[in-house]
């Protein structure tokens, strides 16, 4: 329950606090990392294929954590069931939340099933960890085939879910932008540009998040980072950043120039962003460090392939996108509706709607990600990268088992779990089945 002094003594208060700043940020990460996954699943960027399972898991974990922000911001969280029983559709865009969110969760479950089914089928044969093997077997829903035909079917499901999912991801993030953009009471929110700007910056932040997550897991597991993957991801980042920069400039010109903007919009924009409390967050963090500096620092392919450079830039991009959410949510509410006064928007550190709760939401998302990373075999794509921790696997004499002839046979029943010595050989073979066995070896 919010403390009463949160309201201060003011006539007008910013009622949407830091949690609502975080909500578009998290949902942007959801949509953005989903888009990264679709780059290989739908748009054929096969080089990014190893990152797709990681991006999908990140997206799913953040998707499950995202409602905590709005739930925590609601003053009567125990009445959340009314969103189902008294849904005010189609009049209230906020009422669409549960519909969109649940359809997104269902779609993600289907996609995760298809993405990880083959890996789970391989895991289901683990002998030394019977519980995890049983869990993996459950997650295949009984479909244990690991031949080329099953893989093709999985890929078809993934393609479909990616195609539909990208629409739902945009809908999920777009409805949030629409809530702000359709608010005719607020001069700085009421703009058809806001939903588009939100979606584009969501893609930007999603790419940056996947980039950082890639570095983190590679560092954690001691994998060698593939510079080609980094460079390609950065190329997409630059493209999204260019679009973001274009939209930012449009917004700046159409709100911050007296000749182009409605009077109220211009007054508040200049008072808050040019001369006011949001100068640094807007010009330094959102535009300077969040867009312009990364565009410069990732200009050449050599710079884009640099790990340190792209890591720093991905972090700055994330900070910049968060500051963009802050500038929109806080800035819109700082502009008073009824007086000439700048409404105070205090940063609360603990308690209701505070830094503490926001960190809690991110903590929940992180724990969910760890859980999903434990459940799902997402490391299969990284097998080609030599590890620095484990010694290089020695090809065992049982290599003939993974002959090409074995690939076309449908596995009717689970084959016995291969021993740990034979599993290490998988990276030398390119067959489907041995690839998943390789996943088995690197996935402990």
């Amino acid at each position: 329950m919010p403390p009463t002094n949160y309201y201060g003594s003011g006539l007008e208060q910013g009622v949407w606090g830091l949690m609502i700043v975080t909500y578009p940020f998290i949902s942007g990460l959801v949509a953005g990392s989903f888009v990264v996954a679709t780059l290989s699943q739908l748009f054929g960027r096969k080089r990014l294929a190893p990152l797709a399972p990681l991006a999908a898991l990140l997206s799913f974990a953040l998707l499950l954590a995202a409602p905590l922000t709005i739930w925590g911001d609601a003053r009567q969280p125990s009445r959340v069931y009314e969103l189902i029983t008294r849904m005010h559709v189609p009049w209230s865009p906020m009422a669409l939340f549960l519909l969109i969110w649940i359809s997104y969760v269902v779609l993600m479950l289907v996609e995760l099933y298809a993405v990880f089914r083959a890996g789970n089928a391989a895991r289901a044969q683990w002998a030394d960890q019977p519980l995890r093997a049983k869990l993996a077997g459950l997650l295949t829903l009984g479909v244990r085939g690991r031949d080329a035909r099953s893989t093709r079917r999985d890929e078809r499901i993934v393609r479909w879910t990616a195609g539909i999912g990208i629409l739902i991801a945009f809908l999920f993030h777009g409805y949030i932008g629409f809530i702000f953009g359709s608010m005719k009471s607020r001069a700085l929110w009421s703009s058809p540009l806001i939903p588009v700007l939100f979606i584009v910056s969501a893609i930007v932040s999603g790419i940056a998040l996947v980039q950082l997550a890639y570095f983190a897991v590679a560092k954690w597991h001691g994998w060698k980072i593939d510079h080609e993957v980094v460079a390609e991801l950065n190329a997409w980042l630059v493209g999204a950043l260019l679009l973001d920069f274009y939209l930012d400039m449009i917004e700046l010109l159409m709100s911050g120039v007296r000749a182009y903007a409605p009077e109220e919009t211009y007054e508040w924009f200049s008072r808050l962003y040019f001369h006011g409390p949001l100068f640094w967050t807007y010009f330094l963090f959102q535009l300077g460090l969040g867009v312009v500096l990364p565009l410069i620092a990732l200009a050449t392919k050599r710079w884009r392939a640099s790990i340190v450079n792209s890591g720093v830039m991905a972090f700055l991009v994330l900070v910049g996108v968060f500051m963009m959410r802050w500038n929109v949510v806080a800035g819109g509410q700082m502009a008073s509706k009824v007086t000439n006064d700048i409404v105070s928007f205090p940063l609360v550190w603990t308690g209701y709607d505070s830094v503490q709760t926001v960190l809690g939401v991110f903590g929940v998302a992180f724990l969910l990600f760890l859980l999903f990373a434990w459940i799902f075999p997402w490391k299969t794509g990284f097998e080609h990268a030599p590890t620095s921790k484990a010694p290089a696997p020695v090809p065992p004499p049982t290599l003939a088992k993974t002959s090409p002839a074995a690939t076309s046979t449908v596995v009717e029943r689970p084959v016995p779990a291969p021993s740990s010595t034979t599993m290490g050989a998988s990276h030398v073979s390119s067959t489907v089945e041995s690839q998943w066995e390789g996943a088995n070896s690197g996935d402990r």
Binding site: M1, P2, T4, Y6, Y7, G8, S9, G10, L11, E12, Q13, V15, W16, I70, D73, A74, R75, Q76, P77, S78, R79, V80, E82, L83, R86, M87, H88, W91, S92, P93, M94, A95, F97, I179, M183, K184, S185, R186, A187, E263, E264, E267, W268, R271, H275, Q333, S336, K337, V338, T339, N340, D341, I342, V343, S344, P346
Partner: protein, 354 residues
């Protein structure tokens, strides 16, 4: 709900009640009271005074009464009961389930939804002396917590100091004469005919009655803040005690009993005039017909039902920096408060930067 004493007259204890029947009835009463507390008393339970539990025979009479009579006293056909204290107003008089109300598509009101009254307020700024009696009366009447207001009176300054060699105000950079005007501006929920705050509610907790009053069901509000944001007039706020959105109700509980809103009765200068726009003989109809009136932020298309006579048109609608609005209830952390206390430069001193 059935356990609350709403019968117009308490029936006398009937004779010949069997033991089994008595026990069964008591069990039914206990279940009714318990479920009423569970499902209805979520917010208001703290305010409800404990009432005597009806006896089995009373319960029978109550049920018989409810079978023949409507369960609620409507504001169109008031069936009022002295025992029905103000604590129960949400369940009875203002039970949104039983009222002709609209959550959206407000053009229906007056067409498919029958409209007998159309309550409006006309505020004559020429008469307002800024005494804030209406603010105090509203707080008193509606138990509005400290720090938030259902109605308030802003102090508005317009105009500027004009350079004039013959002006009476002598400064180092020349003489000035004052063309500054100060006026008081009572503000209240406009009870718009097309209220954006009602449209955006995700759970239909807020509604517009057919007589024009926009209200909130505090038992349904989830406290998301969307309506507070969507109101262009800042008439909605979060009630820090009950943790829901809150706003002016035109004192609907008084209206339904034939009384005027508290702010209207308390106004010493008759600056606030309240009445039925559908009644051509009412004072508001006369004023609207004879006086030039304006509404706030007309360009937003919300169709406000609070009309102003002699308002400084540009003040509220355009946020022009040439005018200054000082709410008496100013935010202590705000630039306005700093300006008033001399800790911030006055608007004219910033060299046109603001």
């Amino acid at each position: 709900m059935a356990a609350t004493p709403m019968a117009p007259s308490a029936p006398p204890e009937a004779k010949g009640v069997s033991r089994r029947g008595f026990l069964g009835a008591m069990a039914a009463v206990a279940a009714a009271v318990g479920s009423a507390g569970l499902f209805l008393g979520r917010t208001a339970s703290a305010a409800v005074v404990p009432v005597a539990r009806p006896s089995a025979a009373q319960m029978k009479r109550l049920l018989a009464y409810y079978r023949t009579k409507p369960r609620w006293a409507s504001w169109l056909v008031p069936e009022l009961n002295v025992d029905d204290g103000w604590q129960h107003w949400m369940r009875t008089i203002l039970n949104s389930k039983n009222l002709p109300i609209a959550h959206d598509n407000f053009s229906r009101i007056g067409t498919t939804i029958k409209q007998t009254h159309h309550w409006v307020m006309v505020i004559d700024e020429r008469r307002c002396i800024g005494c804030q009696a209406c603010v105090v009366a509203c707080k008193d009447e509606n138990n509005v917590p400290v720090g938030v207001f259902r109605t308030w009176v802003d102090v508005v300054e317009t105009g500027e100091m004009v350079p004039d060699p013959a002006g009476p105000i002598v400064t180092d950079v020349g003489n000035y004469r004052s063309e500054v005007k100060r006026s008081s501006m009572p503000l209240i929920c406009n009870h718009c005919d097309h209220p954006p705050c009602v449209d955006v509610c995700p759970v239909k907790a807020t509604f517009k009655r057919a007589d024009g009053i926009v209200m909130i069901d505090y038992d349904l509000c989830i406290g998301c803040g969307y309506c507070v944001q969507a109101c262009p007039y800042n008439a909605r706020f979060f009630n820090p005690v009950q943790q829901t959105a809150d706003k002016c109700t035109f004192c609907a509980h008084r209206l339904d009993r034939g009384l005027l809103p508290a702010c209207v009765t308390s106004c010493p200068t008759h600056a606030r005039v309240f009445g039925d726009k559908n009644d051509p003989t009412s004072e508001v109809s006369t004023l609207l017909a004879t006086q030039a009136t304006t509404v706030l932020k007309e360009d937003l298309g919300t169709d406000p039902q609070v009309f102003y006579i002699n308002r400084e048109q540009e003040v509220y609608d355009e946020n022009s920096t040439g005018n200054t609005v000082y709410p008496y209830s100013a935010n202590l952390n705000s630039t306005d408060y700093a300006t008033l206390s001399g800790n911030a430069p006055l608007p004219g001193d910033t060299g046109g930067q603001r």
